[in-house]
Subunit: 229 residues, 2 copies
Amino acid sequence: MGFEYKYARPALAVDCVVFGLDDEDLKILLIQRDIPPYEGQWALPGGFVRVDETLEEASLRELEEETGLQNVFLEQLYTFGELERDPRERVVTVAYYALVKMGDHRVKAATDARNAAWFSLDDATNLVFDHDKLVEAAYLRLRGKVRYQPLGFELLPTKFTLRQLQHLYETILDRSLDKRNFRKKILSMDVLIELDEVEKDVAHRAARLYRFDKQKYKRLVKQGFNFEI
Amino acid sequence: MGFEYKYARPALAVDCVVFGLDDEDLKILLIQRDIPPYEGQWALPGGFVRVDETLEEASLRELEEETGLQNVFLEQLYTFGELERDPRERVVTVAYYALVKMGDHRVKAATDARNAAWFSLDDATNLVFDHDKLVEAAYLRLRGKVRYQPLGFELLPTKFTLRQLQHLYETILDRSLDKRNFRKKILSMDVLIELDEVEKDVAHRAARLYRFDKQKYKRLVKQGFNFEI
DNA sequence: CCAAAAGTGTTTCACGTACACCCATGC
DNA sequence: GCATGGGTGTACGTGAAACACTTTTGG
């Protein structure tokens, strides 16, 4: 029984830092572990890589198993290989970060997880293993990359207002932006489609809705265009 | 004898894309394999990660064992986990890229390598495994990052002329730059130390030598400075 | 004295930034 | 009619880009 190798091998895992955005701030998705070690404590969703699946497949599988999430934007972040990351044995983990439209998804705990819930980034602290470090690295990457790649749209509903988009950048970059300049800039890029629709159920003038034009963006990039906020 | 685990584990390796720069162009360091599979063919230096060393330690160890290189700039690139990367079995590899001052180092083949040699980037093709892909990814990363991080200095001698520095950017970015604007920009950043020395053995007016001031650069970064070419 | 590269300033234009008011809507 | 956020234009300054000639040195 079991698998035998000539030399000792580190175990290989994946972990996901899942970002979501609501009216208040940037959130990340944590699970409460239902198995040792650190049973009952909060951690990033993740688990061991099977020998017959790719790293990305493993991440998506673990995400669905532990939190119910599907169809998320996923990108590799960094591989953490310190010797004492895991108290059980040597475990190398490939970290991914994911961006989800929070409104579209309801999270639910499942396999190996007692509970799954969104935490404000500031409260997502004292996690098990070296997961605080992974969260920090993921946030740094997001903050750095969101300015020159159209990642932000993955966090918003398909139809959004310019206010929502500006608020997203203000939240992630942690500074305020000038409304007129922001609108001028984003509209001049010509990657938003202005819809014949306005937001609903607001106690004031309703704002126009927009969609991100992914096709057009790709075409522009091929012509040398650089997205930048 | 051997090590037994409950579940099958992928093997874990590291591979290094080592860049160097000479008068002509950008080079990468390859080894000619001296062991199966693909014995005799050209590949990136690399090998399996031991259970008691970190990923970075493994990269540095393999680099020294196979090419004799020491004291190089090293940074993690990406982790490749496709199922059929290696004909023997499932191998996940953590790729690193390295930058070396070619003049300072003499490469020599050693453990597991029949030969080690520098190749022009254009000639470093038809490598074994998925190494062509790793080289492509490393070059993309270098080209992207060299513009807003002072990576370039890792490829030059400690003392260099502005012409050499400009040539470095022209080579990596693959476009020509205006001499006056380049000098204005790099000097205005105030991260170069002008030395009381000029280059030697040139058949024309000798250019002034400079050093990169790493300490000052770090101080400036803390104050919000952004390096950018 | 000739070849080769070093070194040096100015003008123009685009873009980022700062800044304030009227308008539409729901209650 | 009032509170709330939607939507809009201009002036200024900084920095990127274009561009050519003189100086120094070695052979």
